[in-house]
Amino acid sequence: ADKINVGILSLTSHSPSIIAEAKGYFDEQELEVEFVSFQAAQPMAVAIASGDVDFGMTAISGGLLSLADKGVVKIIGGALQETPDVEGQKILASKAAHDDGVKTPADLKGRSFGITTTGSSFHYMAHKIADKEGFDRSEIKVKPLQKVPAVIASLKSGQIDAWSIVPNIAGALTKGPEVVEIGKVSDYIDNYQVTTVFTSTSNVEEKPELVKRFLAALSKGISDYNAALVDKSMSEEETAEIVKAIHQYVYSDQPIDKADPRIRAGAMRINENAALSMASVEDQLEWFKSEGLAPEGVTIEKLVDTSFVEAR
C-alpha cells in the first residue's frame, strides 16, 4: 500500500477523508493514510508545497495562489460549495451595528468587516458584497484579525460591525443577543466554491494514479458524509457510527455526547465526486489579481488541473 499524509482541520467539513479511512475506502485503494491536523489552512498549504503532506482541503487564498504560481501546488477538485438547496454562509452584524442601522448587507458601506488575513475567503466575500451593492470596495473596512476566534470575539463585543461565516458557527452566534443575521452570502456569490481539494504539483505530474485513487476513495467518503449529515438519508445507527469516527479528530477534547450535535451542525454539502465549479474559481482568481493579492503570473492553468474530476 502507498503511504499518504492527508492534512485536515478540526472542522466537520474536513470529515469525508476521515469517513473514508474509517469505512476502509482508502484500504480498498491500497492507500495507507496518516492524518495531520492543522490549526489553519495556510500552514497546510505550505506543508503540501514542501511535501510533508500530500492532500488537503482549503479555501482558495492568496497563499495558495502564490504557491501555485511557484508551480508547487495544484487544485484537483472541489469540496464545499454553496448551493441553493442547503443552508449556506451567513452575513452577520453585531448588535451595536444593527441598532445603528445595519439591517441589510447594503448598509455595510463605511462599516468594518472582520476577516482572518488579507487574501482570505472572508476578504473575498466582503468585496463581493461591496461589488454587488454597488459601492467601492474600499468603503467596506476589512479588519485582519488572524483567527476565527478573534473575529468572533470582536463581533460579539461590537468592535467590528460585520462578518460572514458558515451556518453552524453563525447559528451558534445568533442564538446569543450580541449578533444578528443580516443576509446570505449566496445572494452575492453564485455557486461559490468555498473549498477545494489540492495536492502538490509533483503528485499530479509524477503520481497521477495515486491522485486518482485518493479521489476515488474520497468521493465515497463524500457520498457517505452527504448522506449521513447533509441529506440525513442514512439510518441513525450508521450516522452515529460515522459521527463517532469523526469525533476522533473533531471536537475530540469533548465527550461524545457534547460533540455529537456540534459535529452534525457543522455539516455543509460537499460536491459529489469532488466536482469543481470552474466559474467560481475563475471569479476568485480574478478578484485576487485585481486586488494585487496574487502574483501577476498565476493563471487558471497553473492553479487547476482539471483532468481528475468533473469541472463545471
Binding site: 495531520v36 500552514p43 505550505v46 506543508a47 483567527k147 476566534p149
Partner: protein
Amino acid sequence: MSDQTANAPIKREPHEGLRPVPFRGGGFRHRKLGPVAPVVFLAILLVWELGSRSGFISQIALPAPSAALAALGDLISTGMLWKHLGASLYRLLVGWAFGSLLGIAVGLLIGLFSLARAGLLPLVSALFPIPKIALLPLFIIWFGIGEGSKVATILFGTFFPTVIATYGGVDNVDRNLIRMGQSFGMSWLSIVRKIIIPGAMPAILSGARISASIAIVLLVAAEMIGAEFGIGAYILMAGALFALDQLIAGVAILSILGLSIAWLIGKAEQRLLAWRN
C-alpha cells in the same frame, strides 16, 4: 604614656547634659515578611472569584478562577495533561538543549577568537531581534511540520541569547586569572578549560535562565505549526474555541512550568557555583 587596663573605670566622663546619640540608620533594608505573598495571591483570587460570581467581571472578559481550576481538573482527570506536558517538555528539552549547546559553542568562538568575533558578532546582533513568529512560514518549509519545525523554533529562540551570555561571560573572566595561567606557562587549552570556561560559567547559567524563559514563551509560537498535543497547542485550541477557562488553565500551566524551570536552574547554580557566596 600611661596604660589603662580593660574595664577600669572610665575617667573624665562628664555628667552634665548626657543624652543618647539620635538614631538615623533606619529604612532601606529589606525585612522578611513571610506570608505576604500567598496572602496577596489568595486575596487576588478571591476578589476575582467573587467578581466573576457576582457578574461584576463579565464572563467573556475573564472566567472565574474556579472555572479555570475546573478546566485544569478536567485536564488532569482525562489524563490529557500528561500528554500535553510530555509533548511540550520534549520540544522544550530538545530545542533548549541544542540551542544552548550551539549557543555556548558559538559564544566561546566569539569570546576566544578575534576573527570569529569580527565575523559572527554583527550577524548574531542582526539576527537576534527577529521575531520567530514572523519566520513560521519559512520554518515549515525548512523543517517540515513534524517535531522539526517546533524544535527549531525553540532552538533558534534560545541560541542567540546563549551566544550573547556566553561571550559576555568569557569577556568578563578576570584578565588577571588568565595572566596568572600564562605566567605559569599553562597551555592555551588548559587556560580555556580550567580558567575561562569555569569563569564564564555564572554568566552561562544566567543566560540559561533567560533562554529557558524565552523557550517557554516560544512554545506557543512553536506549537502553532501542526501540533496536536502540547501546552501551547492546548492554549491555541482554547483560544480558537474561545474557551477562556481552558486558556487561563493553559497559561497557568506555562507559568508554573516557567517557575519550576527557574527553580531547577537555581538548584543547578547552587551546585555548580557552590564556590561563590
